[in-house]
């Protein structure tokens, strides 16, 4: 039977997307259903887990209306990470799911966060990993935790609804902070930290393994065929990397979204404040990920709040004016920590700054400095990852909305001093899940996740660094000045933090 298509479910914070890919990696059908989240209290971010399944069913039904179900060989899930829901033995939610960006567990991070937890889980202490939010539940809603039969990540939840099995990929579960990253098994030590038993968690399998088949009920609800193989996926960040075929050392992906994520493939386990260590979608390997929360967020903030105009026309004028400014913004630097900093400093009190203002600087200088500041941040991340792993990055693939901003890509290539590849194709994250599904099915007879990724991830165009001589020298000089800004400003950020919390 010729079954040329694979389907990916990409359930992010804001939407459930379903995409059908042909073996060459081109999306042939897409459906999208929006998701909502609620913030019942400052810092709290929650979602109704039932809504995940409802949205997935709607998006799959819409997708399957565009393709022949018989053509689909397998399905795989990628998803927002760290988000979890506590379910009773019937699979009913005991409370709303707590999202990755929920910051309620700051005091649990302060109390439990340690070098040891970082070493075992690969996750520097922060409010992101589920572990600290489970500890919050233990402190504030102990009854919920006691009645919990299963703590499910988004992947586990959808797999259960699709197949009836409580199984998840270790590349989906590891962002929780409960997995020993050296063995890809739940760590009894980490579980003890929050008082969970291993039987309260779904079984772990390697990404790319076939977990089970779509049940009759699920087939009815989605339009998929009963018996369709369900393949273990991975979190959305790692899947985006796989979608860009970042599965060898020396390669990195740069996801230029609201947050900017830099991910490097690693053949060995490393733990460092410079990155979070995640399971690669390539089973048994790792992804080292540096995150700047305010990436495109900084650009959107600039247009809306500083320039006072965030229409596409206004951005176009701003980009054009910024492109005319000499590289280095005539000595103006921007520290893009307008929503704090994660890697490598892990300082929620950090703030943004323009430093070096002179009368000659204008709006376009300030905007260019924002683009350059985000790029300097990536340069620091790459160099720290390099010195931790001993492996130099020579190839970078950019994706996400920002990858269509040609000035930003050029600034990144120039400041990193490396070629940056971009693609016209979108849905790179879903493609990562599709690659896992295709590899599991050996759709074209050639197996292996890495080989499949190289085949399906296509259409990349290289943007070379353009600057040489004094311009490149100037960027190197500014990078040194930039790298010293946070160390000198961090006591001032704490000083401001003390005032603002009074």
């Amino acid at each position: 039977v010729n079954r040329p298509l694979v389907v990916a479910i990409d359930l992010s914070t804001t939407a459930c997307k379903t995409v059908a890919f042909e073996p060459g990696g081109d999306p042939v059908a897409i459906a999208r259903v929006a998701l909502t989240k609620v913030s019942p209290r400052p810092g709290w971010q929650e979602q109704d887990s039932q809504g995940w399944w409802t949205a997935a069913c709607a998006a799959l039904t819409e997708l399957m209306a565009q393709v022949d179900a018989a053509d689909v060989a397998a399905i795989c899930v990628t998803h927002q990470r760290e988000t979890f829901v506590c379910l009773d033995e019937d699979g009913a939610a005991l409370r709303p799911a707590i999202l990755w960006l929920d910051t309620r567990a700051a005091s649990q991070v302060g109390r439990l966060g340690s070098r040891r937890i970082h070493e075992v889980s690969g996750k520097p202490p922060s409010t992101t990993p589920s572990l600290y939010k489970l500890a919050w539940l233990a402190d504030h809603e102990p009854d919920v935790l006691r009645r919990t039969s299963t703590v499910a990540d988004v992947h586990a939840y959808l797999v259960r609804r699709l197949t009836g099995r409580w199984v998840t990929s270790w590349a989906s579960a590891d962002p929780s902070g409960l997995v020993d990253m050296r063995t890809f098994e739940y760590s009894p030590e980490l579980l003890a930290t929050v008082g969970l038993r291993v039987d309260q968690l779904p079984e772990l399998v390697a990404p790319g393994v076939t977990i089970g088949e779509v049940s009759e009920d699920a087939a009815l609800a989605t339009g998929l065929q009963t018996g369709l193989p369900v393949v273990a996926g991975a979190g959305d960040g790692q899947c985006a990397g796989l979608g860009a075929a970042i599965c060898e050392e020396g390669r990195a992906y740069l996801n230029l979204g609201t947050a900017v994520t830099l991910g490097c493939h690693s053949e060995r386990y490393h733990a460092s404040p410079a990155f979070r260590t995640l399971s690669s979608p390539v089973a048994g390997k790792w992804t080292l990920e540096a995150v700047l929360a305010s990436g495109a967020l900084s650009l959107a903030w600039f247009g809306r709040e500083v320039a006072g105009n965030d229409s596409p026309d206004a951005y176009q004028r701003l980009e054009a004016a910024a492109a005319e400014i000499e590289p280095g913004s005539e000595g103006l630097l921007f520290l893009p920590y307008i929503s704090g900093v994660g890697t490598p400093y892990w300082d929620a009190a950090a703030r943004g700054a323009w430093v070096g203002l002179r009368e000659r600087h204008g709006l376009a200088h300030m905007y260019r400095a924002v683009l350059e500041g985000i790029a300097f941040e990536q340069q620091i991340a790459l160099s720290m990852i390099g010195s931790e792993t001993g492996s130099d990055t020579s190839m970078i693939r950019a994706m996400g909305g920002g990858s269509r901003n040609s000035l930003w890509i050029q600034v990144l290539a120039d400041i990193l001093g490396k070629p940056v590849e971009v693609t016209q194709r979108s849905e790179t994250t879903a493609l990562g899940a599709a690659i896992l599904a295709a590899a599991a099915m050996s759709v074209d007879g050639e197996g292996g996740v890495v080989a499949t990724a190289k085949r399906m991830s296509r259409g990349w165009r290289t943007v070379e660094p353009e600057l040489g001589g004094v311009d490149a020298e100037r960027y190197r000089g500014l990078a040194d000045v930039y790298a010293r800004l946070y160390p000198v400003l961090s006591p001032i950020f704490s000083q401001i933090g003390d005032i603002e919390t009074d």
Binding site: E305, G328, V488, L489, I492
Partner: protein
């Protein structure tokens, strides 16, 4: 004594020469202004042809007489004030040898270093009260001697800008002590040329004009000048003052305890002192006051209203000043943790650092343009406080009030922020023309209207309104603490940015 008639004050500024007519009660009979520009033939240079000043002075005097219908016979005395430090060189015939080198000319860094070495920095400050900065006249003299020997050979008289205008009015070579101290060739204590400094620098004392006090009569209007201006020949002309001292007279800052503050492009805090007071590190200017027997201290922050103008020009060019400052109104003191360092043009007081730069520090996604405007208003106020505190702490007498002037004081919000941050009442006087008014008041003393400058100010300067610190002035303390940490933290980055 019943004073009668009218006095004429002149302000020979960098951009215009203004003429003001003032009655004995201090009321303004009329003002006229004639504008011009300065030249920058090379980077760092700033020059002006002295003929521009004389032409503009003739025009503005003639205009104000004509427009007010004032008879020249009613003008009882003339005072001139104006831009300080500019070097005018005249030959034996009284002709100008080269364009004047202005206060804002920066070419003399090497000459200033040489002066420091030759006299010794500490000795120089001890005698003159000041560092030999590039703005001051001494370095400009040495520069001409080194670089233009043919001009130097012809030079017989040096004057400062408004002294040149007075020379054209009276034919007298003279220079008042308030402006004269700004040559930094003065002995601050004796209020005249320092033999030691003049000799150490190898200058010919014959080049230097006689020195006079501000309200002292230098000479009278010549027939030729009368024909050119419409003034009556024989009208007495006084010494006058440099613009800062004249502005202090014009706003009533003539006794210790009452200072003057200007919030223009740059910000200046000025306090009269009863005795010469010197900041030992030379971070303040210490000059003679235009009031005989008194001195003053002065500090400068280089970008005051200039910072707000920069923000408007670059970020909100379509907004009026009122619209711009209205954005800052609803923001709480402290700008929600956003702090602005206003060193857009480097800084002078309290950090003499040409490499210093500006910064916005503390940005979050919650901040917008309104926060940035408020942070600028607060950051400039913090910088004025730095200057104010250094001036206050160096001055032997306590300071209880500041007489404010300059465009920045037009904003009610900004005036209140400055009063709150400095913790001192800010008063505005009736006139916007503090410099020309000060020159006129000095003339009024010479005319015998009042026996002293102090009494003249009491009669002629009227405070139009005072802004005291508000009860919640303490709200700025914490943000000022953050501000104080910024420059020390960023200084090395500023040096590094200059090298990149």
């Amino acid at each position: 004594v019943t004073a009668s008639g009218i006095v004429l004050g002149l302000d020979v500024s960098t951009t215009a020469t203004k003429a003001i007519l003032i009655r004995p009660d201090g009321s303004v009979a009329g003002v006229a202004s004639s504008e011009y520009d300065f030249e920058s033939p090379q980077p760092l240079w700033a020059e002006q042809d002295p003929a521009l000043w004389w032409t503009a002075a003739q025009e503005s005097i003639a205009t104000v007489l004509r427009e007010t219908g004032t008879s020249a016979a009613d003008i009882v005395a003339v005072g001139a004030a104006g831009q300080m430090h500019g070097l005018v060189l005249l030959d034996a015939d009284g002709d100008v040898i080269r364009p004047a080198i202005l206060w804002n000319d920066q070419r003399t860094a090497a000459e200033c270093d040489w002066i420091r070495e030759t006299v010794g920095r500490e000795r120089f400050i001890a005698i003159t009260g000041n560092e030999p900065l590039t703005g001051f006249t001494a370095g400009k003299l040495i520069w001409v001697r080194e670089h233009e020997p043919e001009h130097w050979a012809r030079a017989r008289h040096m004057l400062l800008p408004k002294d040149y205008v007075r020379f054209k009015l009276t034919g007298e070579h003279a220079l008042d002590v308030a402006d004269g101290a700004g040559t930094v060739l003065f002995d601050l204590r004796t209020r005249t040329w320092s033999d030691e400094v003049v000799e150490a620098l190898g200058l010919d004392p014959a080049l230097l004009p006689r020195t006079v006090e501000g309200p002292e009569v230098v000479g009278s209007v010549t027939e030729e000048a009368a024909a050119a201006t419409g003034l009556r020949a024989g009208t007495p002309v006084v010494g006058g003052a440099g613009d800062q001292a004249a502005n202090a007279v014009g706003t009533g800052a003539v006794v210790p305890g009452i200072g003057a503050m200007s919030v223009g492009t740059s910000g200046v805090v000025f306090v009269p002192t009863a005795a010469p007071a010197i900041e030992p590190d030379g971070r303040l200017h210490a000059f003679c006051h235009a009031v005989p027997g008194t001195w003053h201290l002065m500090g400068v922050t280089l970008s005051a209203a200039g910072s707000l103008k920069w923000l408007r020009d670059e970020l909100a060019p379509d907004k009026s000043w009122d619209e711009l400052t209205a954005l800052a109104e609803p923001i709480r003191p402290g700008s929600d943790g956003l702090v602005f360092l206003p060193y857009l043009s480097g800084e002078r007081t309290p950090y003499p650092d040409p490499l210093a730069r500006g910064a916005f520090v503390g940005l979050t996604v919650r901040h917008g343009l309104g926060h940035m405007v408020r942070a600028v208003l607060e950051g400039v106020a913090f910088s004025l406080r730095d200057v104010f505190e250094l001036v206050r702490d160096t001055s032997p007498e306590p300071l209880r009030e500041l007489r404010a002037s300059g465009g920045g004081t037009n904003s009610v919000l900004w005036k209140q922020i400055i009063a709150d941050v400095l913790g001192v009442p800010i008063s505005l006087t009736r006139t916007a023309e503090g410099v020309a008014t000060g020159a006129a008041i000095l003339a009024a003393v010479a005319a015998g209207w009042y026996p002293t400058v102090g009494e003249a100010c009491e009669a002629m300067v009227e405070v139009a309104g005072t802004t005291p610190p508000s009860p919640d002035a303490g709200a700025y303390e914490a943000a000022y603490g953050v501000y104080r940490s910024l420059y020390p933290a960023l200084r090395e980055s500023f040096v590094a940015l200059a090298e990149v």
